[in-house]
Structure formats: C-alpha cells, structure tokens
C-alpha cells in the first residue's frame, strides 16, 4: 500500500473541472495550430459510392461522407462501452473511435478485435459533426450512382436493421445496401 501526495498550486487547489477545461482548450488551440482541424467536405452534385464487403455481403456508403480509408493500427480497448466499440486508434495524431460494423448490422454476434482487425480496412465516416471508423473486411471500388438505381430497402429486412440503410443499389450483378451514415454513427 502506498499513498500519492497531491500537488498544491501556489493559490491552493484549482477546481478539477476548471483545470480539465483549460487543458482541453489548449489542446484545441494546438490542434488548430498544427493544421489538424478538419476541413468541411462539399458533397457536390454527383453521388459517388464507396463499395466494401463484410464477408460475402456488399455494402456502400456515399463517398461524400468518407473521410479516409485506413489499414488498422493498434486499437486500444476501452472498458465500459457498448459491444460495437472496438476501441480507439491513433490516426495520424487524432483519436479515432473504431466501431465494428458487423456488430452494428447484426447485434449480438461475438467478434475479437485484436485478431480480426488484421488484413482488414477501416472506413472513416463523417456526418453531422460526428466521425468514426468502421472496420470492414475489404474495400472494393468507387462507383457512380445513377439516381434511378437507388431502390428502397426490402420490406423483408428487419426494421431495426433497415433503419441503417438509405436503400439498395445494384453493383456487379448483386444488390448492396447503401448505408445511412447518420444511422450508423448514432447508437
């Protein structure tokens, strides 16, 4: 057993919250000075889609919401989170929350983050001021979407899963689900 002695500032103890807010303020200024602030992306009139796979099942997400695609680095686990959280990753000096897209799409399935991130990709998606990286098995293509080729979500899909999609699109002779960035980012 040992005791850690607290440090006393000249004026006495500062309120903890005040100190934390000051540190976060400084951190924010540092990030701006280093040019790490993210630019706002203009989605533009055309709709380009990033196509990726989880196993044999294809999915797409509007490229306007994709910030980058990465290979997973070391993902630090976080305790006390919902099951889809794989952890945090140092993404070129930024903290990225990595989510298990397979588990978001199929809640209840067990996955092991350390072993299963190997050889995969992380698709970093931004929407409404939120950002997260989604672990996927393979990134396949960028394709243009004609407005007529977006179909509604099939009625047979469970509504809790259906809310995660904007619709379905035809890609390479199969239908792939077009993910709703908003629904996937918000628990």
């Amino acid at each position: 057993m040992f005791e850690v002695i607290g440090m006393m500032s000249p004026g006495g103890f500062s309120p903890l919250q005040e100190v934390r807010e000051e540190l976060l303020r400084e951190a924010s200024i540092e990030a701006g000075a280093s040019g790490r602030e993210k630019g706002r992306r203009d989605s533009g009139p055309a709709r380009s889609l990033l196509v990726f796979f989880l196993g044999a099942e294809g999915f797409a997400v509007d490229l306007a919401h994709v910030r980058k695609v990465l290979r997973p680095a070391r993902i630090a686990r976080v305790s006390g989170t919902s099951p889809e959280v794989l952890g945090l990753m140092n993404c070129q000096g930024e903290v990225l929350c990595v989510l298990d897209l397979r588990r978001i799409l199929s809640p209840g399935k067990e996955t092991s983050p350390a072993a299963e991130s190997e050889g995969k990709f992380i698709v970093v998606v931004q929407h409404g001021g939120k950002e997260a990286g989604f672990l996927v098995d393979a990134v396949r293509d960028v394709t243009e979407l004609a407005s007529s080729s977006l179909h509604p979500v099939l009625d047979s899909i469970d509504p809790s899963r259906g809310r995660l999609f904007e619709g379905t699109v035809s890609y390479g002779g199969q239908f792939v689900g077009l993910l709703s960035p908003s629904a996937c980012l918000n628990p």
Binding site: L23, L99, K130, A132
Partner: protein, 97 residues
C-alpha cells in the same frame, strides 16, 4: 505556446489504460487476498470515489498537446463512468478520468 500539463497515475483496468489526475488521488491500496488487485481512492479535488484496477503502472505527465476530447461516437457508447479526455502519446492511448 503550450504551458499546461497534467500528472497522471496510470492504471490497467484489465481492458484499457486509465489515467487519474495525481492531485486527485488520496490513496492506492492493494486489495488483500486478490493478487494484482488495487483500489484507487480519489477525492482530493472533488467528491470521494474509488476505483478497482488490475495493476498500477506508474505515472506519466501529459502536455496539453497530448490531450484530446473524447470522440462523440465513443462518448455516446460508454455505459459506465465517462472519461473527460483521451491522452495520446506516440506509444499509448490513455482514458483520463
């Protein structure tokens, strides 16, 4: 120019590295009969609380440039105690409580 920094007591909670402001730590006790179990008592700067962890790893000083806000996507998915920030060094990621 960055002047702020925080001294953290770093512990392993079995899943992640947690950092507690050293100034807030009252005492760290080894839990009798539980090898590797420690109890961190906090409350010098705020309300008293305690936290059980697997291992006490030591201390680290983080500058403001090594501190990041909690990503919103994570904050919304934390079911337990909310960390106030993330510490990011070249080698480790810490959750700051």
């Amino acid at each position: 120019m960055t002047t702020g920094s925080v001294d953290l007591l770093v512990v392993d909670d079995g899943a992640a590295l947690r950092g507690y402001d050293c100034r807030d730590v009252v005492r760290v006790e080894e839990v009798a009969g539980e090898p590797g179990g420690f109890l961190v008592r906090l409350g010098r700067l705020g309300s008293p609380r305690e936290f059980g962890c697997r291992e006490v790893l030591g201390s680290v000083t983080l500058s403001a440039r090594e501190i990041r806000p909690i990503p919103e996507a994570l904050r919304e998915r934390i079911t337990g105690e909310q960390p106030w920030a993330v510490g990011l060094t070249g080698r480790e990621i810490y959750l700051l409580y």
